[in-house]
């Protein structure tokens, strides 16, 4: 059986090592929890970013040169059809039985001119409104994408705040490990300094660097080495 000094040194070293391992384990656990929380936040944020980007890209695609022109043309055609379909012709029922032929021909000529003018007006208006209408529709869409972007930004900000709060709550310390390290340190110091009341009186029975061990030369003081 070893002497008390050696036992103290062994116990001190063992408890210090055990405490250090516990501290390292606690820090490892804390790192794992932090990584896990970050991964969860990243996953959530990535999904939000992907959906937001998809919305924004769709909205931007509507302003692509070809797409925008096609949409304008579609709106223009729809408006033109609606306006032209609702024009009327034929003097709205005015007819006179005694009308001379020359006046009838004049009626037809004037009526044709009036129709051409009204149709031209409707066509010009349709071209103007087709562009306006498409721009109006795209603006509505952009507004909705903006709303979604704002909401999703709030979500991402919320995730960041929550992650920060959770990370701050992580406790990387190991009280038992700390206690072991402290105890081990004390035991090592005690072992290194000798044990028992004689040590208190200056008569160490343990290791004393200033005193030669039996069968050995006394150690050289540091100042001479």
């Amino acid at each position: 059986m070893c002497d008390p000094v050696t036992a103290s040194l062994i116990i001190g070293a063992a408890t210090t090592a055990g405490g250090t391992i516990m501290q390292m384990n606690a820090q490892e656990d804390a790192r794992d929890r932090a990584n896990s929380l970050r991964a969860a936040a990243d996953e959530s944020n990535n999904a939000i970013i992907d959906s937001t980007q998809a919305l924004q890209q769709d909205a931007a695609a509507a302003f692509g040169e070809g797409t925008f022109q096609e949409d304008v043309q579609g709106q223009e055609d729809a408006i033109r059809d609606r306006l032209l379909d609702n024009l009327v012709s034929g003097f709205a029922g005015v007819d006179f039985a005694e009308t001379p032929e020359i006046v009838r021909r004049s009626d037809a000529r004037e009526q044709e001119g009036a129709q051409e003018f009204a149709a031209g007006f409707a066509d010009a208006l349709a071209r103007l409104r087709g562009f306006d209408q498409n721009l109006f529709n795209q603006n509505l869409n952009i507004g909705r994408v903006g709303e979604a972007t704002q909401t999703n930004s709030g979500f991402i900000q919320g995730n960041a705040n929550a992650l920060n709060s959770d990370l701050q709550m992580i406790d990387a310390s190991s009280p038992f490990g700390d206690a072991l390290v402290a105890f081990g340190g004390t035991a090592l110091s005690a072992g290194a300094g000798g044990l028992g009341p004689e040590n208190m009186a200056g008569q160490s029975s343990g290791f004393n660097p200033a005193k030669a061990a039996p069968g050995r030369k006394p150690p050289i003081p540091a100042r001479f080495s």
């Binding site: 606690a26 709205a92 001119g113 038992f176």
Partner: protein, 202 residues
């Protein structure tokens, strides 16, 4: 594990944030559900409502204006003339332009309604983010949707046809003036055939 960390970092804040986001998403869904009635069909109906409101007024004004024009043409013995062709064609042209304007205004009303709906929806979305109370937001959205779906008020149309008979009236007045001048000439000017400087008024 024995001697492990003191705990914490269990994702409690993240879980609360997930719940907050879920409430906001539920609120957005409730808003979208209440506003789903405002689709293309709704705005086409709104457009047609204005047309149904305005066209009868146009028809009424057109009928009266046509009547006035025919009377004016008849008073000037121009009912069987090219003037009639021109004036009635002008009236028909004006009538068609006004019809086109009505359909154009109807599109404008529909767009304004669409814009109002989007504004209301946007406001609700903003409120939803701060309220984080899906049931309260659903109630608000429902009330707002009912108000927006109510029939709109349209202003009556003003006078759509102007100066249709102006030229004819002027011609008639000119003719009357010429007739009066002729009468005066006959009264006071010398008759070249008689050779005298005056004539007896009977």
């Amino acid at each position: 594990m024995c001697g492990g960390g003191g705990g914490g970092g269990d994702g409690g804040a993240a879980e609360r944030e997930r719940q907050r986001q879920a409430k906001i998403s539920q609120g957005v869904n409730a808003i979208n559900s209440s506003f789903s009635q405002f689709n293309d069909g709704f705005f086409q109906d709104r457009e047609q409502a204005y047309v149904d409101f305005a066209l009868p007024q146009l028809e009424d004004q057109f009928a009266k204006e046509k009547e006035q024009l025919i009377f004016a043409l008849a008073r000037n013995n121009r009912l069987e003339s090219n003037t009639r062709s021109e004036r009635l064609a002008d009236l028909e042209q004006e009538y068609n332009l006004q019809r086109t304007n009505i359909y154009d205004d109807a599109l404008g009303f529909a767009n304004r309604a669409r814009s109002d709906v989007e504004t209301a929806r946007g406001n609700l979305i903003s409120q939803n983010s701060s309220l984080q109370n899906p049931s309260a937001v659903a109630d608000l959205a429902s009330q707002r949707a009912v108000a927006l779906a109510a029939a709109p008020q349209f202003d009556p149309l003003g006078s759509l046809f102007q100066n249709t008979t102006a030229g004819i009236a002027t011609a008639q007045q000119g003719q009357q003036k010429r007739d009066r001048l002729n009468q005066l000439s006959n009264l006071y000017l010398a008759d070249p055939a008689s050779g005298g400087s005056a004539r007896v008024v009977s």
